[in-house]
Amino acid sequence: MATPRGLAGVLGSSDHKVVGRLYVGAALLLGLISGVAGILGGIDRIDGTFGNTILDGDTAPQVISFHATSATLLFLLPALLGLAMVVVPLQVGARAIAFPRAAAASFWTFLFGAGLTVTAYAIDGGPGGGRADAVDLWAASTGLTIVGLLLGSICVATTVLAVRAEGMSLERVPMLAWSLLCSTVIWLLTLPVMLALLIILYVDHRNGQQFLGGLGPDMAEQVAWLGRQPQVYAAAIPVLGVVLDAAATAGRTRLPNRGAAMGAIGAFAVLGIGAFALTAISPEVAQQPVTKGMALLAPLPVLAVLGLVGLSLRGGRPRPTSGLVGGVLATLVLLLATLVGAATAFEGALELAGTQWVTAQSHLTLVAATIALVAGLYHWSTKVLGRVATEAAGRTAPLVLALGALVLAVPEALSGLLGEGDEAVTGIEAMNAVAVAGAGLVLLGGLLAVAGLAGRPGRDEPADPWGGHTLEWATASPPPFANFDGPVPAVTSAEPLLAPTTPDDEDGA
């Protein structure tokens, strides 16, 4: 039976590769809008106040709020979900994603929700917006977006858990698939909390902010936990999977101590359960020892992964591929983010709560995840896009992004150390201007990455441009409808495309 192509193939397709590409494309577009909004907000607050420079007093908070929520909900999570939808079924040797039609529905639900969310902001909605029905539309459409993401998360998690090829036991799944299993499980645990919060906000706002008094005026603050420690780590879990897979492939070696690697990823995922940190439940939750403990522990799994990457590269013959360069840079930026986050645990000494220090930590984490996304898209470009991306751009863009993250976050952190909040003040204009330049660099790096993904046109793309070990490299580029033309290669170890060298390899780990 012929598979529909063209527009009919896109609209009606339940092929996970098509759906994943749609997710990535839509998320990149929304990410661009979010980045521009962030820069506009940054320019506006150079003088330390909102709404005086290029945005008026009503628009400025909306722009900042849009940037804060869309960077996670409309850009990073859907983009990572798109990458997952394309690569994960291939990695575990599945012919299709679990619940293929639900995967398609998740994208279209996300797209409708995202479009309505952007519309709501555009017509003076969003948290604290001036038009009541637009604020209601924002709450409802953001909820719809989350429903779409949850549906997609179920599909990805179920694929890793239940649609693996014969011989692909759970401890043999590639690191990206494992990290995305952990990510999607954490999203499934925490995003419903955001959904419930939005329902509360909607009902409260609809009833004149009297039904659950006090929630209305602080709407933006109620949803800000999504981009703050520890919940923000939930968007960065795939960083560890990308770097481990890219390092093993670039080093042409088996990953040493897979159990420790899986444990580190899992531990980082557990530390990303931050739904309890929403201030609607408890404003003082940031001061709780549990929150501080999670902040202090977060750097440890990242350090462990960096150590494993070093071991992997030392034992092999590493090539500086775009995936490796991007993966390592993403992990380093993430490590910096967790260290910045750990400092918030010393609240009595540093008094960082509510300052730009927290914003710096969020920016570092989100840019780290963005760099990992770029690295992943380049590493698996033949599977995601069906073409080899430009390697030069793939190595340069993460560098620009990482530099942008530093230029963006360091002034913010310094402002935080000086005790300056969002509302401040004199003396930090220069640092705010530098931070805006950093945001510009981040946007530039993103555009460079997208330009490089266009790659070179070609008809015969290599199935495996890197000499990879895992199952996704055993199929054509782009992969056929059923993922593998013939039977799925036998899986007798965690690196099924490598010939076993010792009897231990047969056992998998």
């Binding site: 039976m1 309505l116 209601d136 539309l137 359960i273």
Partner: protein, 283 residues
């Protein structure tokens, strides 16, 4: 024997439980006594716990991890070999995506979108969203059933069509006609009088031409058909929505008094009681 996945989650559960017990007891401001231990062991039922939030978070993580660990142990990490042994078969069937396209996911998302917009704007859209979602759920269930009817996707599609076509064609046809008529009628009420003639003729002509092309080229590229349908539906819907928002144009009604005057200026009406005079009749 415990599986890899279950070991991991049971480990997390144990660590979280231990942390919860220590944390709940250590943060209890009262002096250490038996109630301190029974409190953290009984979720605060017999005795107290210290910081409730932290204790609840750690206990929540432990509970979720136990559930996930038990699930993975029960299903043997969903390993294919274990599933095959349970069934009992040599190999379990592979999961495959349906090769034929299905627009129901898109339509379902549209229904959800209509529902969301409707709860903010109007109950009519809410009803539309609910109706669409119910229809999609029904269609989806039938598709899921027919996907597994046989091993041949072509036969499965034929089975689905045989079951659903008698319902789909009349219902979707009637629905399409209703939406089309409603939307076009809004447009005709809104545009100037001269525009009505053009739109009325133009739409009819467009429908005729498209129908002619579709019937003359039955093997037309599905993408072209999809594009035509999407563009046409969006144009009609957008026109209808915009027209409904703008509202109907002002139609000048002739005042009743003037009409009466005109009647009076014309030929007088005969009263039923008026005498009838025959003219030109043979005398």
């Amino acid at each position: 024997m415990l599986t890899t996945g279950s070991k991991w989650f049971f480990g997390v559960a144990g660590a979280a439980l231990l942390a919860a017990l220590v944390y709940g007891g250590a943060t209890n401001p009262s002096e250490v006594k038996m109630a301190t231990f029974t409190g953290v062991l009984t979720l605060g039922y017999k005795g107290g716990v210290g910081d409730h939030i932290g204790y609840a978070i750690l206990m929540g993580i432990a509970g979720a991890a136990v559930f996930l660990g038990a699930s993975l142990a029960a299903f043997r990490d969903a390993d294919v070999e274990a599933e095959a042994a349970l069934l009992p078969v040599d190999t379990v069937p592979e999961v495959t995506a349906p090769p034929q396209g299905s627009y129901w996911p898109v339509i379902g998302a549209f229904g959800a979108g209509a529902l969301v917009v409707g709860i903010v704007t109007s109950s009519a859209l809410v009803m539309l969203g609910i109706v669409v979602l119910v229809a999609v759920a029904f269609e989806w269930a039938i598709s899921a059933w027919s996907d597994r009817a046989t091993n041949d996707p072509a036969v499965n599609q034929a089975v689905r069509r045989r079951v659903m076509m008698p319902f789909e064609v009349p219902i979707l046809g009637a629905l399409g006609i209703a939406v089309f008529v409603l939307a076009i009628s809004r447009v005709l009420l809104t545009v100037p009088q001269l525009g009505v003639y053009f739109i009325f003729g133009g739409v009819a002509l467009a429908v005729l031409v498209v129908a002619f092309v579709l019937s003359a080229r039955p093997r037309l590229n599905p993408s072209v058909v999809a594009a035509l349908c999407v563009v046409g539906a969006l144009a009609v819907l957008a026109g209808g929505v915009v027209s409904a928002v703008v509202g109907p144009r002002e139609i000048e009604h002739e005042p009743e008094g003037e009409a009466e005057d005109e009647d009076q200026q014309g030929a007088p009406l005969l009263s039923p009681d008026a005498p009838v005079v025959l003219t030109g009749a043979p005398s």
